[in-house]
C-alpha cells in the first residue's frame, strides 16, 4: 500500500504529469470563469490532444479541467451574479450581495476555501471508500455488472423524469450509436450502410466534441450570457486575512464536502443538487440563518464545498463499478476505455499505480487551482471581458482541427459537425443530453454484459433472479422507478385538489 502510494506520488510529480495537470487546471479555471462554456467544453476540446499522452497524464489533464472548472465558476457568480458553471448559481445567492456591499474579497475567500476544502475532503472519502466498494464488487460476475449498469442508467433517466420520454429516446440513441461499426465479438459489420468509413464506428470523441464543443459554441454565437461586464476587485490577489476569517466556518466546510461527495456518488444527481443540498443544510444549521440570501460567506463556502466535492464523488462509482455519474465522468470513462483500461473492482488491483497517481493528481489539482486563483485573482476575473462570440468561433476551429488530427480523417470532423447540430438543438430544447452521452459510453459495456449474462443463462435472463446481489439491485431499480412516479402522482393530485378548493371558494 505504502509502496503504491509512493509510486503514485512519484508518477504524479513527474514533469509531464505536472505540466499536464497545471495546464488542465488553467484551462479548467478559464472555461469555468467564462459563462456558457464550462468544464465539459474544456474537456472535449482537449480530448483529441490527450491521445498523445500516457493514460495517467491524459487523465490528469482532463481532471484538471474537471476540477478547475468548478473553482473558476464561482468567480463570475460572485462578481457579476452570472454563474460560470450551473452549480455556482447557488454561490451567487450570497456572493453577489456581498460584492454589492463592497465585500467581494470576503465572498471569494469563502468560496475558494470552500472549493479547496470540498475537493480535499471528497478526495479523502474517495481514497477510503473506493477499496471498500471495489472489495464488495470483486465478487461480481456479468449478471451483477449488468444490473449495476441498469441501476446507474435508471438513476440518470429518473433524475430527468419530467422529460422521461425524451431521456429514454436519447439513451436509446446513445446505445445505438455505440453499436455502429464492427462488432467486437463476432467481427461482423453493424449499421455501416455498406460503407468502409463507418466500419470504425462513431467514435466517442467526435460525438462528444460535436455535442458539447460545437453544440455549445453554436449556442454561444447567438446569445450574450453575461449580465454586465463590470468587475470590481479591491486588489489583484486574494485578501489572506479574509481567508482566515472564512476558516471559522470549518464545520460547514466539512459537512458540505461530505454531502457533495455522496451526492456526486449517485449517478444522475449532478453538482447543482450537491451545491443546493450543502447550502440548504448550512442554512438550516447556521446560527445566522437570517443572513442567508442577503450575503454571508458561509453560504458561498457551503455551496462551493458541495459542488467541488462532486468530481471525486463521481470517481467512486466510476473507478469501482465502471459507472459514470455524469457526462463529465462519462468522458473520463471514455479515456479509460480508449486506452484499454476498463474501470471496475479489478482496476484497483491491476492498476494500483495509476489509481494512486490519480489520487495525488487530484490533490495537486486542488492545490494548484486554489493557489492560482489566490495569486492571479484579478487576471483570471478579467477573462470574462473576452467576448464569448469571439471565443466560440476560435473554439470551433480548434475543435475541428483537433478532431481531424486524432485519426487524420475528415469523416470524424464531419461527424462532429453533425453531432454539433444535434447538440445545439438538444441544448436549445433543454433535452437531457447527459442521457445521450451515458448511452454512448455505457453502450458497449452494457451490451457485452448482456450477451455474457445471456450466455450464462443459456438465453434466459432468469439467471438474474437466482443471484442475490442482482436481485437486490433489481429491487432497488424498481423502487427508483416506482417511488418517484408515485410521489409525483400524489403531488399532482394534491395540487389539483387544492386548486379545485381554491376555485370553489
Amino acid at each position: 500500500m505504502v509502496e503504491q502510494l509512493a509510486a503514485g506520488f512519484t508518477a504524479a510529480f513527474a514533469p509531464a504529469n505536472l505540466v499536464a495537470l497545471l495546464f488542465g487546471t488553467v484551462v479548467g479555471i478559464v472555461v469555468g470563469i467564462l459563462p456558457g462554456l464550462g468544464p465539459m467544453v474544456g474537456m472535449v476540446v482537449l480530448l483529441p490532444f490527450s491521445f498523445a499522452f500516457t493514460p495517467d497524464v491524459a487523465l490528469s489533464l482532463l481532471l484538471g479541467v474537471f476540477c478547475g472548472g468548478y473553482f473558476g465558476g464561482a468567480v463570475p457568480a460572485i462578481l457579476m451574479r452570472t454563474p460560470g458553471v450551473p452549480s455556482s448559481l447557488i454561490t451567487s445567492f450570497d456572493g453577489y450581495p456581498l460584492t454589492r456591499k463592497g465585500e467581494a474579497q470576503t465572498a471569494l475567500s469563502a468560496a475558494l476555501l470552500g472549493s479547496f476544502g470540498g475537493g480535499v475532503i471528497s478526495l479523502w472519502i474517495l481514497v477510503f471508500l473506493a477499496p471498500i466498494l471495489a472489495h464488495v464488487a470483486a465478487s461480481f460476475g456479468p449478471p451483477e455488472y449488468l444490473t449495476v449498469a441498469v441501476f446507474g442508467v435508471v438513476l440518470v433517466v429518473m433524475a430527468f423524469r419530467d422529460r422521461l420520454a425524451q431521456g429514454l429516446m436519447l439513451l436509446g440513441l446513445g446505445f445505438w450509436i455505440s453499436t455502429v461499426g464492427i462488432d467486437g465479438s463476432t467481427l461482423g459489420a453493424r449499421f455501416t450502410f455498406g460503407t468502409l468509413i463507418m466500419q470504425n464506428g462513431l467514435h466517442i470523441i467526435p460525438v462528444c466534441l460535436g455535442l458539447f464543443g460545437i453544440g455549445q459554441t453554436l449556442l454561444l454565437v447567438e446569445r450574450d450570457i453575461l449580465r454586465g461586464r463590470e468587475v470590481h476587485l479591491s486588489r489583484s490577489t486574494l485578501d489572506f486575512s479574509k481567508l482566515w476569517l472564512a476558516l471559522r466556518y470549518w464545520r460547514t466546510l466539512i459537512r458540505s464536502g461530505v454531502i457533495g461527495t455522496f451526492v456526486g456518488l449517485l449517478p444522475g444527481t449532478g453538482s447543482i443538487l450537491a451545491s443546493f443540498m450543502s447550502y440548504d443544510a448550512a442554512k438550516r444549521l447556521s446560527k445566522e440563518k437570517e443572513r442567508f440570501g442577503k450575503g454571508t460567506p458561509e453560504g458561498c463556502l457551503a455551496s462551493e464545498a458541495g459542488n467541488n466535492a462532486v468530481p471525486a464523488g463521481t470517481m467512486i462509482p466510476l473507478l469501482t463499478l465502471g459507472i459514470p455519474g455524469d457526462a463529465l465522468s462519462a468522458v473520463l470513462l471514455g479515456v479509460f476505455t480508449i486506452n484499454g483500461i476498463y474501470p471496475g473492482p479489478l482496476l484497483l488491483v491491476k492498476e494500483p499505480v495509476l489509481i494512486n497517481t490519480l489520487y495525488w493528481s487530484m490533490l495537486l489539482i486542488n492545490v494548484a487551482a486554489f493557489a492560482m486563483l489566490v495569486v492571479w485573482l484579478r487576471p483570471f476575473a478579467m477573462i470574462v471581458k473576452v467576448p464569448s462570440r469571439l471565443l466560440a468561433v476560435v473554439i470551433m476551429v480548434i475543435s475541428l482541427v483537433g478532431i481531424y488530427a486524432v485519426n487524420t480523417r475528415l469523416f470524424d470532423a464531419g461527424v462532429a459537425v453533425v453531432m454539433g447540430v444535434l447538440g445545439y438543438v438538444l441544448l436549445r430544447l433543454n433535452w437531457p443530453i447527459v442521457n445521450l452521452v451515458m448511452g454512448i459510453v455505457l453502450g458497449e459495456i452494457m451490451e457485452n454484459r448482456l450477451r455474457q449474462t445471456l450466455s450464462l443463462g443459456e438465453g434466459s435472463l432468469a439467471i438474474l433472479l437466482g443471484r442475490p446481489i442482482s436481485m437486490a439491485l433489481l429491487g432497488l431499480t424498481v423502487l427508483i422507478i416506482a417511488g418517484p412516479l408515485i410521489l409525483d402522482r400524489r403531488r399532482a393530485k394534491k395540487a389539483e385538489k387544492s386548486d379545485f378548493v381554491r376555485r370553489a371558494s
Binding site: 420520454a165 429514454l168 440513441l173 463476432t186 468561433v393 480548434i398 459537425v417 430544447l429
Partner: protein, 164 residues
C-alpha cells in the same frame, strides 16, 4: 408572450421526438439487413439482440410524441422562444465550408478565411479581431499540428491546380 410559455406550447419537442422515433423504427425494420449475422452464435449471443432492444426502447419512448404530432392541432413551432437562429446557421454553413476548405485550400488558408468570415458574422469587426485573431490562431494551429505533432493534412487540391 413569455419564453417559457412559447416553449411549453411549442410542437418542436414532439416533432423531434417523432423524427427520432421514425428513424429508430426504420432501423428496427431494416436491422436484419444492417447487421451481419453470419457467425455461428445463437441469437442471444449474437450482434443483433442489443440493437433490437435499444431501437424498441426508442420507438416505445417516441410513441407519445408521434401521437401528439399527428393528432394535436395548433401550438407554435418556436425552438425555444429565442427567435430563429440565423447567426448560428450562418456560422454552421461556414463550418461546413471550412471542412471543404481543408481539402481544397489547405489548413492555413481555410482556417484564416473561416475565422475572418465567422468573426464578421458574429459582429466582432475591429481590425485587430478580423485580422489579428485569425492570423494568431492560424499560426498556433500550424505550429501545434503541423510542426510539433507532425499531423498530415490533405494537399490543397485547388492550390495545386493553380500552381500547375
Amino acid at each position: 408572450m413569455a419564453d417559457e410559455q412559447k416553449n411549453a406550447e411549442s410542437r418542436v419537442h414532439d416533432l423531434l421526438g417523432a423524427v427520432l422515433g421514425l428513424f429508430a423504427l426504420g432501423l428496427l425494420v431494416t436491422s436484419p439487413w444492417h447487421v451481419d449475422r453470419s457467425g455461428p452464435d445463437p441469437f442471444y449471443k449474437g450482434p443483433l439482440i442489443f440493437p433490437l432492444l435499444v431501437l424498441i426502447l426508442m420507438v416505445g419512448a417516441s410513441l407519445p410524441s408521434l401521437w401528439r404530432v399527428l393528432r394535436t392541432r395548433g401550438g407554435t413551432w418556436y425552438l425555444d422562444g429565442q427567435g430563429l437562429p440565423v447567426r448560428s446557421l450562418r456560422v454552421l454553413a461556414l463550418l461546413v465550408l471550412f471542412l471543404a476548405g481543408l481539402v481544397y485550400l489547405g489548413l492555413e488558408i481555410s482556417t484564416w478565411a473561416f475565422l475572418f468570415a465567422a468573426l464578421w458574422t458574429v459582429e466582432q469587426r475591429s481590425v485587430w479581431k478580423l485580422v489579428g485573431i485569425p492570423t494568431l490562431v492560424t499560426l498556433c494551429l500550424y505550429l501545434v499540428f503541423k510542426v510539433f505533432l507532425g499531423v498530415w493534412f490533405p494537399e490543397p487540391v485547388l492550390l495545386e491546380a493553380l500552381m500547375e
